[in-house]
């Protein structure tokens, strides 16, 4: 890079005219870069919103909390709706909900009586007869119907037993301020824990999925590093009959698409009795992986051969040479394999989906997919919070080990 200091990537000399070109280039790159970042910002922004703000048009980027005075206290509220006509708040005397406050259209109250609804077994029904009601507050048109925000709030689908506080307030009584709803993350976590028929299911939740994922990740990366180092060593430094054929096969099978071997492979694991265990996800890694073997072999071939010969003359066994000479020199390459495998196992969806059957074994991929198919649709703020938590560890890992990653990716191209 050093010699490039005075010359742009395509060899042009730097001058006044080129400064303008370079400026334009950065503008274009920054514009494209922000397009690439936008989905992340959208994910973060949505994950910090209360449900009602995920459905405002046009969408807001900065989550805000709306405040109103409820029973004399300033509280964060959900703006349920703006009243399109005059309403009244009444206390119901008689009927199923006797003693409860209700919001009714002013025109619905006649002679101190009104046709009111009540909820029975999840269904709203009308009382057969109008019941006596007492008007306690008049809410003119354009007042806001607001109810207290609670972390459990998600569009009224799963309201808890205790009815949240609510009221009707004029627009000027409402205020709002930027406010990140971090509690969405806690709600998403608790939603992943589902009560099922089987008590074992109840134990399964995010921490459980995380442990399962880490378990598979660690076993796979250890296996990949150990086995691929051994195999790559033999490809790089040991002569044996059939080595070229074996290496050629290793390169060729990288072309085999997974669906082509999916069915018989499943049958192999089924006959071993491994379906429904973590074994299909990590055991194969202890027997090498074509791509890593290739990467490590290339790296090993670049090591100074004299060192190995010297060690051999000193009477070191191959294992000793591998451990004392090659491994210390190849640390960056081994770190790369470990990182790639960690990433691969963490991200994997199809493997766990094929082989894991019981919910208590779910990895984060499966847990998140189950979450989406159960709760998907409306609570996008929770889906985004869950997706954030699932992606963030990888993003952080990447930023911490950026150099190792980038070197590894650059090496990927070598085989072309």
């Amino acid at each position: 890079m050093a010699e490039k200091d005075n010359i742009s990537g395509y060899g042009g000399k730097v001058g006044a005219a080129n400064t303008a070109v370079t400026g334009a280039l950065h503008v274009v790159l920054l514009a494209i870069g922000s397009l690439f970042l936008l989905p992340f910002i959208w994910m973060l922004s949505t994950s910090l919103k209360p449900l009602d703000q995920t459905m405002t048009l046009p969408p807001t980027w900065i989550p805000r909390a709306a405040y109103a005075t409820l029973e004399g206290q300033r509280a964060i509220v959900i703006k349920e709706k703006k009243l399109a006509e005059d309403h009244v708040i009444v206390i119901q005397h008689g009927g199923h909900d006797a003693g409860k406050r209700k919001l009714l259209a002013a025109s619905a109250v006649k002679d101190g009586k009104a046709q009111v609804r009540f909820t029975r077994a999840g269904h709203e029904e009308y009382e057969p007869e109008p019941v006596p009601v007492e008007i306690v507050k008049h809410c003119p048109k354009d007042y806001w119907h607001v109810s207290e925000w609670t972390p459990e709030y998600s569009g009224g689908r799963e309201k808890s037993q205790a009815e949240p506080r609510w009221d009707c307030v004029p627009e000027e009584d409402l205020s709002s301020a930027p406010h990140p709803f971090w509690s969405n993350y806690r709600s998403a976590l608790s939603r992943m824990r589902q009560k099922g028929d089987d008590p074992a299911w109840y134990a399964a939740g995010f921490p459980h999925y995380l442990l399962n994922t880490l378990w598979v990740c660690v076993l796979s990366l250890l296996g990949a590093v150990v086995s691929c180092t051994l195999v790559a060593y033999s490809f790089a430094f040991l002569e044996f009959r059939g080595r070229e054929l074996l290496f050629g096969t290793t390169l060729a099978i990288m072309m085999v698409p997974f669906p082509a071997v999916m069915v018989p492979l499943f049958d192999v694991f089924r006959s071993l009795g491994w379906v429904g265990t973590f074994k299909p996800l990590w055991v194969p890694l202890w027997f090498g992986g074509a791509f890593y073997i290739f990467l490590l072999r290339q790296f090993f071939l670049g090591l100074p051969k004299d060192l190995l010969d010297a060690a051999r003359i000193d009477g070191c066994s191959e294992l000793e040479i591998l451990w004392h000479v090659v491994v210390p020199l190849a640390r960056p390459a081994l770190a790369m394999v470990a990182l790639f495998q960690f990433l691969g196992s963490w991200k994997d969806f199809m493997g766990p989906m094929l082989y894991l059957t019981d919910r208590s074994q779910f990895t984060l991929s499966l847990g998140l997919q189950a979450f989406q198919s159960q709760h998907g649709g409306t609570p996008w703020h929770l889906s985004m919070a869950a997706s954030m938590m699932f992606s963030l560890p990888l993003l952080i890992l990447f930023l911490l080990a950026r150099k190792t990653f980038m070197r590894g990716i650059a090496m990927t191209g070598i085989k072309g």
Partner: protein, 305 residues
């Protein structure tokens, strides 16, 4: 160890891989040929049916439909992915500062696990409240204002994943978000292009475009070729995104061959039939790869070969 020669040691060190290669790739690969000639499910033993599966495939309307979808997807995803990643790499390579920052930004999406990115994009593609349609709304408002003046029918933004026309292109668009890996490989290769070549071109009075066209692209053609092959293999394997986001719908618009193979194997329990289709999939990929090799023979430049 003294009794085992270098030869034996070589085999010994390679042993894990010999077992792994055999048990987890070569055996399943060969077994799927055999199974493709049988009627086979988990519940019963394989029964030889000759070419039965293959002749059934020939008359299977769903197969032709999903094959068409897969080819359509590949035809959109491979060139667009190639173009975007190459342009990003060329732009990054033209700058002297900030390459590290840009490559991080472009690489980040590649790190998001498929389940998370699938859910994120379902939300972005949401017809009503999604990011994409809200960004497009002003354009449609403008268009509609013009159309209204002419008295023509108004337009609405696409419903993306819930539209049979747009669901497949939506998946392609989402795929473009994670081209960072390929872009970075290109960038690393671009930096290996010897500067003398550009200097020579400068002396000959070449324009920037001519330098890109006649120096840069030929010099990185082997990596372009490599990425095209990886693109072919990837595009013909796409499964998780449609499985999570659209379940193959709407109206089977995103039902791809790997998904149909999966359904046959694990939902309809017709594993022999699934194997026959997976062989067809493999042969298609093989044929395309060989074709790419053939086409590239005159066009790809390998330094030092």
């Amino acid at each position: 160890m003294a009794t085992i020669g270098t030869r034996g040691k070589g085999w010994l060190f390679a042993l894990p891989w010999i077992i792994g290669l055999g048990a987890f790739t070569l055996y399943p690969f060969c077994a799927s040929i055999y199974y493709s000639f049988t009627d086979f499910s988990v519940l019963q033993e394989a029964k030889f049916v000759g070419l039965g599966n293959y002749s059934e495939i020939a008359g299977d309307e769903v197969f032709w439909k999903v094959l068409g979808n897969t080819v359509y997807y590949a035809a959109l995803a491979i060139p667009s992915g190639l173009l975007v990643s190459l342009v990003l790499a060329l732009l990054m390579n033209a700058t002297r500062r900030g390459q590290a920052l840009y490559s991080v930004i472009f690489y980040l999406p590649h790190l998001v696990p498929v389940v998370a990115s699938a859910i994120l994009w379902m939300w972005i593609f949401n017809a009503q409240y999604g990011l994409l349609n809200n960004a497009l709304q002003p354009i449609y408002d403008l268009l509609n204002a013009l159309l209204q003046r002419k008295g023509e029918a108004l337009l609405a933004p696409p419903a993306w994943l819930s539209s049979a026309t747009w669901a497949l292109p939506s998946l392609v668009l989402m795929g473009l978000w994670s081209v960072g890996q390929a872009a970075f490989i290109y960038l690393a290769t671009l930096q290996d292009v010897p500067l003398e070549m550009y200097e020579a071109a400068d002396i000959d009075g070449a324009t920037t475009w001519q330098k890109v066209r006649y120096v840069t692209l030929p010099m990185i053609s082997h990596i372009i070729f490599f990425n095209v092959i990886m693109g072919i293999i990837g595009a013909f394997q796409v499964f998780s995104e449609p499985y999570i986001m659209t379940q193959g719908g709407p109206a089977q618009a995103t039902y791809f061959l790997p998904y149909y193979i999966f359904d046959n194997a694990f939902v309809y329990l017709r594993m022999g039939y699934a194997c026959a289709m997976s062989w067809i999939l493999f042969l298609i990929i093989l044929a395309l790869t060989l074709l790419a090799f053939r086409l590239s023979r005159e066009r790809v430049y390998y330094a030092g070969r």
